[in-house]
Symmetry: C2
Subunit: 348 residues, 2 copies
């Protein structure tokens, strides 16, 4: 490349978050409409009447998905959902998406249509419009770039930096399923590679496979917050695992946290499959990623509003920054919490 | 893939525009804020006070750029400019961008910084903010995805579909330079491959090389339209060559056109280099692409407003649809005008 070889910093040593942090520090916002730039689930632009939420994701074949076990329709659906999830994580309502698609000539029109049928199904499911994009040939793998646009009144937007000491840490749905689903698909792929006549043994784990192949964004939770008159103090969606995400909130809010193993919402199928595969369900919930549930904090005074909601679990509480970041296991042993979430630069 | 092999349509047979048309026909807009979807330079979203313009481009190594002769800083700059150009083509003012970047581990941090320095230089030059994005590792080539966001009062937005019979067809700046620049770089690359000790012979062609390596978006023209009280009836930016772009306007406006060779604005360096390389400058202007000038139509009654502007050339006029699409050469021979602009699926 063009860099000075005597002054070379490897990206692996920096990691994805390190690189983002490095870039963020060089970027200054100059437009009066630019309310929030790099560093949250989405950017915020003021448009006079309300605020526009914008988020972009880049998905690459061989890094983010494997076409040998991800059907194109599911891939299209999931690509939209992960971006809608980012808009939801700002407590905003998704409205439009744009799509950039790079595909090689080995794809037929029918294959592209299969992908688009998933994209459009997700658009319909979440009430968003595909308003534009770009298609191009790719000389290597498939490339998917989606930008999602949402809106919200300025006072409704929830950032990562608003968590306060004593706030309750909550998650929607259950965790670890998407990770277990991926492990199951990996196992079946290996078996298939060793014996192409083997039939995949996926029975009984439909829910877990759906968590991986057809995740949903929790727009329903964002809509319920309004009916519950509940405004979280901070929020993020769980794409990289609970541990990694709560640390984002803590760092940006300048607070500490305590998470309890016994409070983690884990589906019984996730546990069962974990036992079958020899994997710890708690680790999957903490570090697995791709569950696309919402992680948010609320003042303790708001506890009544969520305590009887099956779809919300309180998994811990926010502490003073000096208390650090802790995980309390079932035996009441306290462990330091570290982000072992998926890192695109380390996973190679 | 997953398609039915008995029913396979090759993407090459459809082409990039055919694929976009095919997709467009399956997309319905459902949100009241979605004013304009697929099919123009950018999408339009109503935000109550004004309108938001959104456009996305995907740039792939080996398809859109060649790192062996495109310095990373230039690449960063150009990636931003081509998107800002799309916002300008809607007669809107660009305000923000988001960036998705896929890079392999063979890049160092310093190389990524080089790329970003170009991105940020363009942001500064055009007064836009980088508000968000996504970085990830790529297993194959470099992937750049940029979304640009602009604003304009609803009545200022110019679409591709407003050209009327007898309107004048105008272009800003000059054409064909970017294409000639690419040919020059290609020649020097070949010479270098055959003899790595050869020094590149690029002297005297700085302007042409800049047209290719560091194009500019014509935000200045959009700003001048306001001071001239001029509202084009249709507009598009010239990324794929004049011929391809005027046909987009004609098809969407349901009109014909006549373009005159003698009126094409071609810089003398473009002609000189054309002679040296044995390439026709007129063909470069018509089909070369990547000039990022604005192509627009105005009512004949507005001619006075542009006739003495050196930066605007009238290259033809709009005719009735039944008259067809024509190109008149210097010998007054009339040729049918066809789009030979660059097509990502055909150029492989």
């Amino acid at each position: 490349m063009f860099e000075n070889k005597n002054n070379r910093t490897e990206l692996q040593n920096l990691g994805e978050f390190g690189l983002i942090e490095h870039i963020k520090n060089q970027v200054k916002l100059t437009q009066s409409g630019s309310i929030k730039g790099i560093g949250d689930d989405a950017a915020i632009i003021d448009n006079g009447e309300g605020q526009t939420v914008i988020t972009t994701d880049l998905l690459l074949e061989g890094v983010h998905f494997d076409l040998s076990y991800c059907p194109l329709k599911h891939l299209g659906y999931k690509s939209v959902v992960v971006n809608i999830s980012d808009v939801c994580a700002m407590n905003a309502i998704p409205k439009q998406i744009t799509l950039g698609l790079g595909i090689s000539n080995r794809f037929s029109l029918e294959a592209v249509e299969e992908f688009f049928s998933g994209v459009l199904l997700a658009c319909e499911r979440y009430g968003v419009d595909l308003v534009g994009g770009d298609t191009t040939s790719s000389k290597s793998g498939m490339v998917i770039s989606i930008t999602a646009i949402g809106i919200a009144p300025a006072q409704d937007i929830v950032y990562r930096n608003g968590a306060k000491e004593n706030d309750l840490i909550c998650v929607s749905g259950d965790l670890g399923g998407a990770y277990m689903g991926l492990q199951l698909l990996n196992r079946e792929k290996q078996i298939f590679l060793e014996n192409p006549n083997a039939q995949p043994d996926l029975q009984g784990f439909d829910y877990i496979l759906e968590r991986q192949l057809k995740p949903e964004a929790r727009l329903d939770i964002v809509q319920r917050f309004k009916t519950w008159y509940l405004q979280p103090t901070s929020m993020i969606d769980i794409s990289d695992g609970l541990a990694s995400e709560i640390l984002h909130i803590c760092h940006q809010s300048d607070v500490g946290c305590q998470i309890y193993e016994e409070k983690l919402p884990i589906d019984h199928l996730t546990r069962e499959l974990g036992m079958e595969l020899g994997l710890d369900a708690t680790m999957a919930a903490l570090n697995g990623g791709e569950d696309y549930e919402l992680l948010f904090t609320i003042p303790m005074s708001e506890y009544e509003k969520i305590k009887d909601r099956a779809e919300i679990s309180v998994v811990g509480h926010i502490t003073h920054k000096n208390a650090g970041y802790h995980f309390v296991d079932r035996q009441n042993n306290v462990h330091p919490l570290s982000a072992q979430g998926w890192d695109a630069f380390l996973s190679k």
